[in-house]
Point group: C2
Chain length 339, copies 2
């Protein structure tokens, strides 16, 4: 891997693609060239990067010649087809889709949690689901000190997880509602203005869990290498733009003092403690949006568990940053020499 | 109690007061006279009721002469002062505030759950917190069949719980945000447009739970007569107008088949099952608003509990109706003769 590699972004014009450019720039990622790849429809479009202008190229089978690291964010179908092509051309792939996340040969990485699962030679590395990545950052420092035995979660998920069009539909539908006009949703299956609804991923007819919930469960188990970890989760879309919230109850194998947990969380990388009881100031999307750090607060002993072994907390992270683009760029940073 | 009593509404011009008039009308409550009471500031205002017009009177110590049932919804301070005065004047009081909810001499009633706790002669009957009332309707049919051992909840609470001004602030703040203009919140402590935040009730410095959460715990224990029930709950405000959502995990003392639970819930009063797995259609505020029934769905075995004894479900109810005005009117109905 060169010290300043050639980077390609697949799906550069999507909601996450735009943030991949932003994260590479903000984090001063050393690169010799940046290639922007997208569908034929988006080819020719200009995008700004570090004060210059780049032209989006059409993604083809020949797009990866000379590419050292390819950041994929164009959906699982594109990843399944083109990630092996990129790998065969010698690129290392960081894939933001769900295509390879459960492949045992592919590490699933949140750098703050399990960077050590990368051996250094994998052709493809998977970037987790946004909820799993954001929760992972908050859970890791606790799990290192006190093994986690069980998780219960309820999410407050933003429009951005369904893409830029969903974000626009939330804004347009809300504007129409405020004007008292009818609005027909096209991206989301339900009205989104001043409304919440169960995440629109398909329901597993065996368990009743939806696809998003199943990903959160399977990926948290993989990221923490706890294949039997009981995880209950309800994923709900709320009318916010780009930061996911989540209430998490964590059962440990022993009683954990909330102040000890607070100290562990306040010292951990990628986290910012927002836990002001007197001021009633806790993690909010309005303060997490555009931020690299995941916000954590409302840390307290869970009164739902009389054994005292459960803590509960509220976590908010930018879905497009730690939940997607930034985590992928952090993985790419770990591929650089002398890292 | 006369067959057509004289009814007074204290706090008639507030968000709940308006819905008290609406619920009395919609449910064809038999009454011989309706008196609307409010602060001096609102006195003289006209309100429509059953095709006629009523004039709001100023609340005074003499307001309750001849009143049979007084419905209070003007906050705990007003209730503490005037409910005893109304009772001394011979009225039976249904109080929507938190003033008397934990008073052992005052029944705390959700009619679908514990109407039997009213002896028939109480001067004051308390109407529960909105989350407790809405959750109670969904929990009661299950608890009757399979005793509840433990609850874990996360709420998605609407603006209406903070009053009509909070609803307007959500609309105004969102409109400003969509225009790209600055907006300074005055009612809520945090920006509400496209944002969520921990419920703004004060935090108990001992437990870290906020006042809303503490009410939910204490009131559910009281309503179900389970004084030791472990309840964990996180209360979050989301930018919706008037229906509360809640994810509830319920641990029973035995394994409960989700289909058995579904059947119990679909037959229960005050509930409507919305649990379409194939169509991904579940309870939503957009469909609960203005509805008397509480919506329940996402009924499944909780994968967070390997014993299989926990079910999880998602519940949405109109905060101003079943969460407040309608429940109060239902209590008043039970005070009528030959009920």
């Amino acid at each position: 891997m060169p010290a300043a590699p050639v980077i390609a972004i697949v799906g550069a014009t999507g909601a996450v693609g735009v943030e991949l450019l932003g994260s590479l720039a903000r984090r001063n990622f050393p690169l010799s060239q940046l290639r922007l790849l997208a569908s034929k429809r988006s080819a020719g479009r200009e995008m700004r990067f570090r004060g210059g202008t780049l032209i989006v190229e059409e993604l083809t089978e020949n797009s990866f010649d000379g590419v050292d690291i390819a950041l994929f964010s164009a959906g699982a179908t594109i990843s399944r087809r083109f990630a092996p092509i990129a790998a065969a051309a010698g690129a290392r792939v960081v894939d933001n889709s769900s295509a390879f996340r459960m492949d045992p040969a592919v590490p699933l990485v949140v750098p703050e949690v399990n960077a050590d699962t990368m051996q250094g030679d994998e052709a493809i590395i998977a970037n987790p689901n946004c909820v799993a990545a954001i929760a992972g950052v908050a859970l890791a420092p606790l799990h290192r000190a006190f093994p986690i035995r069980r998780l219960q979660m309820a999410t407050y998920q933003a429009a951005s997880g369904a893409g830029a069009e969903a974000m626009q539909e939330l804004r347009d539908g809300t504007a129409a509602e405020l004007r008292g006009e009818a609005f027909e949703p096209k991206v989301m299956p339900h009205p989104y203005a001043f409304n919440i609804f169960s995440h629109n991923a398909d329901i597993d007819p065996q368990t009743g869990y939806n696809g998003e919930e199943s990903k959160v469960i399977a990926e948290l188990r993989r990221i923490f290498d706890l294949p039997q970890l009981p995880v209950g989760v309800t994923c709900i879309r709320v009318p916010i733009l780009r930061a996911h919230g989540m209430a998490i109850s964590i059962e440990f194998d022993q009683v954990v003092d909330p102040q000890v947990a607070r100290d562990l969380l306040s010292d951990a990388p990628g986290l910012r403690l927002v836990d002001d009881w007197a001021g009633n100031h806790f993690p909010m999307p309005s303060e997490a949006t555009g931020q690299e750090d995941v916000l954590v607060g409302r840390i307290r002993t869970d009164l739902g568990d009389p054994s005292g072994r459960t803590l509960t907390l509220f976590v908010v992270g930018d879905q497009l940053l730690k939940g997607a683009a930034q985590n992928a760029v952090q993985i790419a940073e770990s591929l650089l020499p002398a890292h």
